[in-house]
Amino acid sequence: MTVAFKKTKGLTDKPLHYCPGCTHGIIHRLVAEVLEELEVLDKTIGVAPVGCSVFAYDYFNCDMQEAAHGRAPAVATGIKRVNPDKVVFTYQGDGDLASIGAAEIVHAAHRGEKITTIFVNNAIYGMTGGQMAPTTLVGQKATTAPYGRDEAHCGKSLKVSEMLATIDGAKFVERVSVNSPANIRKAKKAIKKAFELQLANKGFGIVEVLSTCPTNWGLSPVEAIKWLEANMIPYYPLGNLRDVEEAK
């Protein structure tokens, strides 16, 4: 009997703790499959963030370090400088990466740090209960933006990938989404390319993945996917923003 689909070796047997319908799980799986397919699990060190994916260190089947809120790119820098021949990645939420850790991600990209960042943008702080993130959409309600995000009061939503794509050290920047099977396949392709870039020692690579937070958006999983499609994708357009290979 041929096996058409099986569990990836890139994930441990630990059951994921994510809420029903949360797309963090899909993104974990994509990263894990890519690491398995590239046959680098035994030489990978991942860095887990603070946020709903804080337990990522229990899920990925490779060496892991847990970082302080926002500091994953700095921690990954330390790891990579000691292990230049290993694969190092960070997995970070949008509060983690775009708010408290904005300086760390900008400068890791700026140095051309040879690491891969998986940036999960769900437009909200999940773990702490739905507060506003820099990525929260204008008009979107959050517990700390109870009347909806007001641009005049706290600015527009931060387009991190567009910003990072202006930095020379960032060699691969792509925004993907996991809202449909087709987009999930595209997301996996981008994640793979970002890791291949690292394996080729080219520089910093980041994949922003639009993700849902049904719990804090107050929507069912299906409604959440629809909300993502109707609201997030128009503001955060999918596609490649920078690819050194293509540019050549």
Binding site: D63, M64, V75, A76, K80, R81, V82, N83, E104
Partner: protein, 353 residues
């Protein structure tokens, strides 16, 4: 080996490299800039890596990553910079990783000044970072001692898997003295089997972490850490005792202040006043035993610091009400003079407050 004349900050870098430190992450701040400058110059020559981080917060987290990956790693800064590093120091202590952190102290609070001070005693010995952690804090009084302590500090860090702080002050950083590099005492060090270097398919994944969601697990972790700290307190306490026998007054002072105090003690001897000195070399663990030895015939203990009085709290705990504990200090970058200390001692001996 012949002695060489070196500036304190450069000697700090040289000692670290001799101790096997190959990674340094830092951010400029006066009066410690010669440390990163030295490392930038010298580390590449020995196959090491110097990296100037975008901030102290990033620097200490790079240290966390590098240490987790099994490297000997150091960072240095000065007071406001160390304040930013406290976040990472707490995580490093929580995840039980070894590293050396140098604080070339300047005056505070806030931006303060750039002259030597000892006003970071609380910050160094009372955490500053969150949670139940301690870390060995060494306070050298000369450049030779700084070098000796740094060379030993990497081993202490590795043996106990803990951050270790060298609390120098601006004076130590900026002055020049002749030094020689001596081999530190050999320690049995376990291989770093916990490091994240890739599993190579030979073992289960290693996880470096300080998160314990289950309160019972966190309590267990903290109690385990506490036992480790007890062991450090038993084994690693360093102190210099000077002329304690028959002393009318015992002075407690550390770092460069203790050198000024020694000068004052000699002047007192000429005046016929017997004064002794307890110089904590480790501020944590604090040398309580030396204070317990103070004879009942001693009139008072005088704490002299380049601060408005911080170590005095530990001295008071050590004396536990046995005799008066007096204080003399200058702060903000002002340095006590031997004569001012002699005057204070004369007043105490004369029964004045």
């Amino acid at each position: 080996m012949a002695k060489i004349l070196m500036k304190g900050n450069e000697a700090i870098g040289a000692a670290a490299i001799k101790a096997g430190c190959r990674y340094f992450f830092g951010y400029p701040i006066t009066p410690q800039n010669e440390v990163p400058e030295y490392m930038a110059r010298e580390l590449p020559k020995v196959g090491g890596v110097f990296l100037q981080a975008e901030s102290e917060v990033a620097a200490i987290n790079m240290v966390y990553g590098a240490s987790g990956a099994g490297a000997r790693v150091m960072t240095s800064s000065s007071s406001p910079g160390i304040a930013l590093k406290q976040e990472g120091i707490s995580y490093i202590a929580g995840a039980e990783l070894p590293c050396v952190v140098v604080n070339v102290v300047r005056g505070g609070p806030g931006l303060g000044g750039i002259q030597p001070a000892q006003s970071d005693y609380y910050q160094a010995t009372r955490g500053g970072g969150n949670g139940d952690y301690r870390m060995p804090v060494y306070a050298p009084s000369s450049i030779q001692e700084t070098v000796d302590l740094i060379m030993g500090a990497f081993d202490v860090a590795d043996q106990y898997r803990t951050p270790v702080m060298i609390l120098a002050d601006g004076m130590i950083g900026q002055m020049m003295e002749p030094i020689e590099f001596k081999e530190p005492k050999k320690r049995e060090l376990a291989p770093k089997t916990w490091a994240t270097t890739g599993t190579k398919d030979e073992r289960k994944p290693n996880i470096i972490n300080s998160l314990f969601i289950d309160p019972q697990e966190l309590e267990d972790h903290c109690i385990r850490l506490e036992k480790k700290y007890d062991l450090i307190a038993q084994n690693e306490c360093l102190v210099e005792e000077y002329k304690l026998e028959g002393a009318e007054i015992v002075v407690a002072a550390y770092g460069t202040t203790s050198r000024i105090v020694k000068n004052a003690i000699d002047k007192c001897a000429e005046l016929g006043i017997k004064v002794g000195l307890i110089r904590p070399i480790t501020l944590w663990p604090f040398p309580f035993a030396s204070f317990e030895k103070i004879e009942d015939t001693t009139k008072a203990v005088l704490t002299v610091e380049m601060s408005t009085g911080q170590m005095i709290d530990d001295v008071k705990i050590a004396m536990n009400g046995r005799m008066p504990v007096e204080f003399y200090g200058r702060t903000g970058g002002m340095v006590p003079t031997p004569d001012a200390i002699v005057e204070k001692i004369k007043k105490i001996v004369g029964g004045e407050k």
